[in-house]
């Protein structure tokens, strides 16, 4: 465990602290979230060593995960999509004057969820990486195919909209110089498009500007409960928590599963809440301020958010938009994510994993002690916060490549984000396609070259065939479940 030595240098510890604080603030503010917060701050880390940079950026991510809970419970405004489910019972608890109980439960269960996920990463990641060393291009393409198919299979809403959002991402990713033949694709003679669309710009626009535009429709007004965490309330809540171990465990499993397959933190939190409601003996009271209704989604969301880093590190496939942004960072720092990372960059990998343990402990302490401070940020009126966030987004988009064109694109992506949000086109598939587009395409073309254009390479051996088969099942899952529903109806009728 030399990783802890890497992390324990004073400089890295300081970065960790700064990262968590920034992360919580980002999580608390509307319009800034894990994905675009990390995207905006990424250029600031270019001068640091990759290990320090990823420690700070991943701590921003943990902070954002913690921060989302504060606004949900105190103000009934989810700071992040994955904390929507926390509002169901968290806010009623706060209105009954049990805000400190709800906050403590939320933070502690986030911590538990993350810890379990880090343990999973610690023990599973080296195994997965070792296994993945055997992968050829066909296997990689099969895994990527599985990733995207699972969006369609597990997504809610129209699968056609998921597909459209995803392919739009792929199409945007293919703009620019083709890495195999050196030909220019879809640039139409413009110099700006030579390097293609930068997905960091897309993330800032889609999630940042898009969300502000959406919330302007209603004109957000913050009206919330005041909060102070008293020490004895914290201790009282901690005494009560162990009796809900079943809920915790269930949510951890859901979270880890949803994080590793790219379901992401948001569906994980909803699923955990739903299952806790079904299995709890107080299920009918959910929604009125049940502590279990806070524990379940928070544990699920954090477990998913953390375990999303496992496929990113071992296979180079991010499990969530934020993990995708971190992956983009790795590429910029010159690190190729994937199984080889575990052999060639041991310090980096174990430093990151060690920072996950420490970062979550530090995060728990910070959020428990600083709740009044963060709640104060929320009392700043929206008409001040909104333009400041716009400015920060513009700065973030510009610094990625020092190009005005990117600031323009941020605006365009902002409008796309607003429209897609309202029409229920999911955004994560598009972001992931933008990030993975080039990789997926090149592994596809490499496998085609290997097989001389024969598609059967995707079921040529057991390994690739299984992964590919799973992908096909997930891809057609909406059709299958529809047919099954029809069959059942036919029987009962």
């Amino acid at each position: 465990m030399g990783g802890f030595l890497v992390v324990l240098s004073p400089f890295n510890l300081m970065l960790m602290l700064v990262g968590i604080l920034l992360g919580v603030i980002i999580g608390v503010l509307p319009g800034l979230g894990g994905a675009n917060g990390v995207a905006i701050l990424l250029p600031l880390t270019f001068s640091m060593s990759p290990t320090s940079a990823i420690i700070m950026l991943s701590c921003i991510y943990w902070g954002a995960l913690f921060g989302g809970a504060i606004t949900s419970i105190l103000f009934n405004i989810p700071g992040e999509p994955w904390s929507v489910a926390t509002t169901f019972d968290g806010h009623p608890m706060a209105r009954k004057g049990r805000a400190d109980e709800a906050l403590t439960a939320a933070f502690t269960s986030s911590f538990v969820g993350a810890l379990v996920a880090v343990l999973v990463i610690t023990f599973l990641a080296p195994l997965v990486a070792k296994f993945a060393l055997k992968f050829g291009p066909a296997e990689f393409f099969a895994v990527q195919f599985l990733t995207f198919a699972s969006f369609i299979g597990m997504g809610k809403g129209s699968p056609f909209k998921t597909l459209a959002s995803m392919t739009l991402g792929f199409a945007l990713a293919s703009v620019g110089l083709d890495s195999v033949t050196g030909q220019l694709r879809m640039t139409f003679g413009t110099a700006e498009l030579l390097t293609g669309f930068k997905f960091l710009v897309a993330v800032i626009g889609l999630f940042g500007i898009g969300e502000i535009l959406g919330s302007m429709e209603t004109g957000l007004a913050f009206t919330g409960a005041h909060a102070r965490l008293r020490l004895n309330a914290v201790l009282e809540t901690w005494k009560k928590l162990p009796q809900y171990w079943m809920t915790s465990l269930r949510s951890c499993i859901i979270g880890c599963w949803m994080g590793i397959t790219p379901g992401g933190a948001t569906p994980a939190s909803f699923m955990s809440y739903g299952l806790a409601k079904r299995f709890s003996k107080d299920g009918h009271k959910f929604g009125t301020g049940q502590i279990e209704g806070v524990i379940a989604p928070e544990t699920g969301a954090h477990a998913a958010g953390t375990s999303a880093l496992l496929p990113m590190l071992t296979l180079g496939i991010p499990g969530s938009p934020t993990a995708a942004v971190l992956l983009g960072g790795l590429l910029i720092w010159g690190l190729q994510p994937g199984p080889l990372l575990f052999i060639e960059q041991k310090d980096f990998v174990w430093g990151l994993i060690a920072s996950m343990y420490l970062g979550n402990i530090v995060g728990l302490v910070i959020v428990l002690t600083c709740v009044p401070l963060f709640a104060a940020i929320l009392r700043v009126p929206f008409s001040i916060i909104a333009p400041v966030i716009m400015v920060i987004c513009a700065v973030g988009a510009y610094t990625i490549n020092n190009a005005m064109f990117d600031v323009w694109m941020m605006g365009v992506f902002g409008v796309i984000g607003y429209l897609f949000n309202k029409l229920k086109y999911p955004l994560p598939p598009m972001v992931l396609a933008l990030v993975l587009g080039d990789m997926a395409e090149s592994s596809f073309r490499q496998s085609m070259l290997l097989s001389q254009g024969d598609l059967s390479i995707f079921w040529s051996n057991g390994l690739v065939g299984t992964i590919f088969g799973l992908g096909v099942i997930l891809l057609f899952w909406p059709v299958i479940s529809w047919l099954m529903g029809m069959a059942r109806q036919g029987k009962t009728a």
């Binding site: 250029p43 600031l44 001068s47 989810p78 999509p81 929507v84 129209s158 056609f160 909209k161 597909l163 459209a164 392919t167 739009l168 199409a171 293919s174 083709d178 195999v180 033949t181 030909q183 694709r185 879809m186 139409f188 500007i209 969300e211 535009l213 959406g214 919330s215 302007m216 429709e217 209603t218 004109g219 009126p381 929206f382 008409s383 001040i384 909104a386 333009p387 400041v388 716009m390 400015v391 513009a394 700065v395 510009y398 610094t399 005005m404 600031v407 323009w408 605006g411 902002g414 409008v415 607003y418 429209l419 949000n421 309202k422 029409l423 596809f444 073309r445 085609m448 070259l449 254009g453």
Partner: protein
């Protein structure tokens, strides 16, 4: 998180979800058309030695995009035109435009006068328009935030941002 305009906003509906679904699907089909046309130019077939040509992958991506959008389009067209959900009301759309247009102006202007001056003005005007703050209150906040940004980027992290005549005058 968006789309809750029913509670307080009773202004007339501007567009329905159905109409917007149709419009967006048509735009996506057009985008797919661009992708497919350009892929055909690059070649979508197998080439000896090279393997699949540069247009091969985007071609099929464009095809899937067109097909899936066509399904969304047909579904929306088949929906009943009357009733249905509201995409945006007049009042809400006005609010969105009131944010969007200044944002566009801000983006254009910051290329000329630099990001710091533009941001200070943008924040002050935004606060004045939406928060009804007097400019005497908005201006100091805008300037303070620009100063913090300046210190953070130009001084500490040495990341240059777009600058204009004012910064040049001050020697940056």
């Amino acid at each position: 998180m968006s789309g809750h305009d029913g509670d307080t906003d009773n202004s007339p509906r501007l567009v329905s979800v159905r109409t917007m679904d149709i419009v967006v699907a048509l735009v996506l089909i057009a985008a797919a058309g661009v992708v497919i046309t350009d892929s055909l130019r690059l070649g979508v077939r197998w080439r000896p030695i090279e393997g699949p040509a540069a247009g091969y992958f985007p071609f099929y991506i464009g095809l899937i995009l067109a097909l899936s959008s066509a399904v969304t389009l047909i579904r929306a067209v088949m929906d009943k035109p009357a009733g249905g959900q509201t995409f945006v009301t007049k009042k809400a759309f006005g609010q969105v435009l009131a944010v969007l247009i200044p944002l566009i102006v801000y983006i254009v202007v910051l290329g000329f006068i630099g990001i710091y001056v533009a941001s200070a003005i943008y924040i002050a005007l935004f606060m004045w328009h939406f928060g009804k703050y007097p400019l005497t209150k908005g201006a100091p906040i805008g300037i303070a935030i620009s100063l913090v940004l300046f210190l953070m980027f130009e001084v500490w992290f040495l990341v240059p941002l777009p600058k204009g005549p004012l910064e040049e005058m001050l020697g940056y």
